[in-house]
């Protein structure tokens, strides 16, 4: 009986062996989860951030650079901080800041993941902290690059980068960004984000349970190298830009200067502005909030976003369209009758050239009537519609009423009211010339942005065509220009009609509305304008190009609440032209001083620098 018990004991041995083999089959063959877990265990994914592309000026000066800073990272699971207060004192942070990070870690359940505790430490701070790190486990500093701006210029056009928002993160189309990544938020940084950012690299390393490096995972077969971002070569003339910002200091408004033969933007000034270095570094959030709250709107990129009725500069395309449509000739005379629209004293009657020189309002009232009412239909309403449609088509060919396609984000298109718009407001065949006549002198329902004004100057300088204004003339090592900036856009006006208008513009500066600001030796063709402002003092506008033959620069200047265009806008434009063409400004020191000393606004931003 008892002898049989050896079978029971052997049976128990066999049973255990079978249980083990079955259990192993389940663990190793049936359950595939463990292989994945093993990889997650051993292989750590390290993101390698690429070098963000730099931005250069026309002469090759660096407008935007990269600077290395250090983030202090903490892996909470590995840290053992006994005295929080002592820790915070040592690292120079407040307990609130520390608790905020702890809360964040808890929210994201990121106990095993390094989380930034202190961001953007300088080289010196990083060196100081290294000693403290010996006392605490689970902390390390990680280099990262931030932007740095050698020159305090064109903050709005350059834009800034910042941490990607939760919304952007969730709505990105091809998943590239992850939390904490930097992305271009405005200006060129935003528009050329994909070119500047490059491609992130991934490195898989093997780490042991303590997180110590143990070599590359699978010999680096899955690794990819980061691809550095491409540099941008802008057409900005740094000296001109600096000078423009100087002239515009303490004034609200902007300047856009374009090289007519290429459409390249030479200077783009938005005032008031800010030092671009304010939106980089550790004070980013504080400064960004302050700038956003600022009543002077320093973050508002005026050349692209401020929309005004253009005022008298609109007379230029009006004359061109009328000439092209054949409703007037270059020697057509109209009396300055002031029946409907008012004018200022000047000799009368005038032809096209004279009407521009003296900016005669009644002249353009009549020009516009000729355009709208051509007596092609006995019905005045129908007739107005025919004329209006022809005008609408032509005026839009000057780049008005639509986005030009400048290489900056948030560009406005401006407004040119359409036939449909008036039908909607007044009803079909319920409006005629008398309803819309103010368009003739650039007032009423029109909105033009400054860059469109500068483009108008470029069109006239070119005698009938333009290239889309752009800041970037070359991308990457081969400095290739984007295709769309190489396309010539022609207006619907025959080039032969431009000369008379240009003659008129020359007279504006020589003996017309901007005569005071003329600069000897330069043949500047310009046109003053005064944009009506229902909220206060009118905005001064001036567009110009120079020299008359083979123009090198086309410019638009607008100064908000500065009144008549000849007084403030024209001197600024002419000084800019002198600066660009002659490299110095020596002919009118009186005018320069007069501009520099004029303060329209008070800027007090010492507190947030």
């Amino acid at each position: 009986m008892i002898k049989e018990r050896k079978y029971i004991i052997q049976g128990i041995f066999i049973l255990v062996a079978i249980i083990f083999i079955v259990r192993l089959f389940q663990l190793q063959v049936l359950d595939s989860e463990y292989k994945l877990l093993a990889q997650q265990n051993a292989a750590r994914k390290i993101i390698e951030y690429p070098f963000r592309g730099l931005i250069y000026s026309r002469e090759g000066e660096r407008l935007v650079e990269n600077k290395t800073v250090f983030d202090l990272m903490m892996t909470q699971r590995e840290t053992d901080i006994k005295d929080t207060l002592e820790f915070c004192n040592k690292f120079g942070i407040t307990k609130e800041d520390f608790m905020k990070v702890i809360k964040e870690i808890r929210r994201d359940a990121a106990y095993n993941r390094p989380t930034p505790l202190i961001k953007q430490l300088s080289f010196v701070e990083n060196a100081r902290i290294q000693e403290l790190l010996l006392e605490y486990k689970g902390l390390f500093t990680q280099p990262r690059t931030i932007r740095s701006y050698p020159y305090d210029v064109m903050a709005n056009a350059l834009g800034y980068i910042g941490e990607i928002s939760r919304f952007q993160l969730e709505t990105q189309k091809d998943p590239y960004y992850s939390q904490g990544d930097y992305i271009g938020i405005s200006g060129l940084e935003s528009y050329y984000e994909k070119i500047l950012r490059g491609t992130k690299g991934v490195r898989f390393i093997m780490v042991d349970r303590k997180g110590a490096l143990k070599g590359r995972f699978k010999n680096g077969d899955y690794d990819t190298l980061p691809e550095p971002g491409m540099d941008l070569y802008t057409s900005i003339d740094l000296e001109l830009q600096k000078y423009g910002e100087q002239l515009m200091a303490y004034k609200k408004g902007g300047i856009v200067a374009i090289e007519p033969s290429t459409g390249e933007i030479l200077a783009i000034v938005s005032s008031p502005s800010y030092n671009p270095n304010m939106l980089t570094g550790r004070k980013f959030s504080k400064n960004a909030a302050a700038l956003q709250k600022d009543s002077l709107k320093p973050l508002f990129n005026r050349p692209l976003m401020a929309m005004y009725p253009p005022g008298s500069i609109f007379k230029l395309p009006q004359a061109l369209i009328a000439l092209d449509m054949g409703v007037i000739h270059s020697n057509t005379l109209f009396a300055c009758n002031k029946e409907v629209v008012n004018c200022h004293p000047h000799p009368s009657p005038q032809d096209v050239k004279g009407s521009i020189q003296f900016s005669c309002n009644p002249y353009y009232y009549q020009v516009f009537r000729k355009i709208i009412n051509q007596d092609k239909n006995p019905n005045k309403f129908k007739d107005s519609e025919i004329g209006f449609d022809q005008w609408y088509e032509r005026i839009r060919s000057f780049g008005f009423g639509k986005k030009l396609g400048v290489d900056l984000p948030n560009e406005k298109g401006g407004i040119i009211p359409s036939n449909k718009f008036y039908d909607k407001v007044y009803g079909d065949l319920r409006w005629k010339f008398s309803t819309i006549y103010s368009l003739g002198i650039g007032q009423g329902e029109i909105g033009i942005i400054p860059i469109q004004m500068a483009n108008l100057a470029a069109i006239i300088a070119n005698r009938g065509y333009y290239y889309t204004p752009h800041l970037v003339k070359g991308i990457g090592p081969d400095k290739r220009k984007p295709e769309k900036f190489l396309v010539k856009h022609h207006t619907m006006v025959d080039p032969k009609h431009y000369e008379v208008v240009i003659d008129g513009m020359e007279q504006v500066v020589l003996a017309g509305t901007a005569a005071w600001s003329q600069i000897k030796g330069l043949t500047i063709c310009g046109k003053t304008g005064t944009a009506q402002n229902p909220h206060g003092e009118d905005h001064a506008v001036f567009i110009a190009f120079a020299p008359k033959e083979n123009p090198k620069i086309a410019i638009a200047v607008f100064v908000e609440n500065a009144g008549f265009g000849g007084t403030w806008a024209a001197p600024i434009a002419n000084l800019m032209i002198e600066k660009y063409l002659n490299d110095t400004t020596s002919i009118r020191p009186d005018m320069e001083k007069y501009i520099l000393n004029k303060h329209f606004i008070t800027v007090n931003r010492d507190s947030i620098q």
């Binding site: 008892i2 050896k6 004991i9 062996a17 083999i21 359950d31 093993a38 051993a42 042991d208």
Partner: protein, 436 residues
Amino acid sequence: MREEDSIYRNVDWLTIMLYALLVTAGWLNIYAADYNPIASQSIFNFDINAGKQLVWIATALVLIIIPVFILDYKFYSAFSYIIYGLIIFLLIATIFFGTEVKGSKSWFEIGTLRLQPAEFSKFATALALSAYLGQINVKFEHLKTKLIALAIICLPAALIRLQNETGVMLVFAAFILVLFRQGLSPWVLILGFVSATLFVVTLILQDKILIMQSLAIIGAIIIVTMVAFSLLRRKNIKIKKILVRAGLIAGFCVACMIVVFSVDMVYNKLEPHQQKRIMILFNPESDPKGAGYNIKQSKIAIGSGEFIGKGYLQGTQTKLKYVPEQSTDFIFCTVGEEHGWIGSSMLILLYLFFMMRLIFLAERQRDKFAKTYGYCVACIIFIHFTINIGMTIGILPVVGIPLPFFSYGGSSLWSFTILVFIFLKLDAHRRQVLGH
């Protein structure tokens, strides 16, 4: 010379071969467990565990196997009590003069050599128990015999418990199987098994009343069914016999209830880390980086080996030290990760074959001393094998005991070598003794 000739001819070469196979495989896996792909040290480098293990293997051959074979076979039965007494003395001495390692005061330092007397208490107890039960005048049926046998087992076990080496103490459960072979009532095994099951069930359900009620109901149903069957089938009913049976079943149920009732008492007596190790079994995710970490990492390492494994020296989990104690208690992880299900199963079958061979050898002994000792050897190895592998694959709580012949460590390798080779020596001389 005649003596050696007979050893050479009569010793069981198959067991020696299996032993050699396990020790060699262990050595290779210790090398793999600590293998550093960057440093790439030689397996003969004495600074690493594999190199040291080679020294242990060599010394085991010279200092243990040869002397064990040279000594007269009668020495072991004759000196068994003295060896036992010596070990008991050492165990007591260790409690007072031992060195503490990882919370267990079980190490004895003699110069640079560090030994664990608890390891050697296994073969000493096996010798003493076999010697006692091997006496001609000792009959296992007597209660006195059982009590003395129990005392021989429990004395070293209790001393080891005092050293905080709970794992090694558990190994003494192996002797229950030995006693079972001697004629211990199967109810002890059944009660033991049922108790363990009830212990676990109670811990999981945490509802003693429900379990005790269930036990009472099940007991009642069994008694009623038995009585009903007896009444229906037999005409001449022996009421006394039925009553005895019913009483036994009722008693068994009561015993079970006492077990259930005392679960908390026993559980609370355990150290906190032991309590955790038990709870982890039922809920491995409860503390994945704390107490559950070891077992989770062990399962990941083994599981990631899949069907054929990652290949020798290709494992990542053990090499990168995700698995704790990977060359000692968790050495099986290396096998699982690098050799997959095929390799692990083959190792398990190798152990099974080895243990079955030991049972076969034990059964062919005519000497009761040698036979009992053979069972002791097989059962001790079996317990180690069960607890160690069961722990690495997550079906038994983490108990720090080595895998025989495989795990890194001199004490462990030496003690198993002594254990097995004394038996092989006895087996070689089996024809020279008269059976009882």
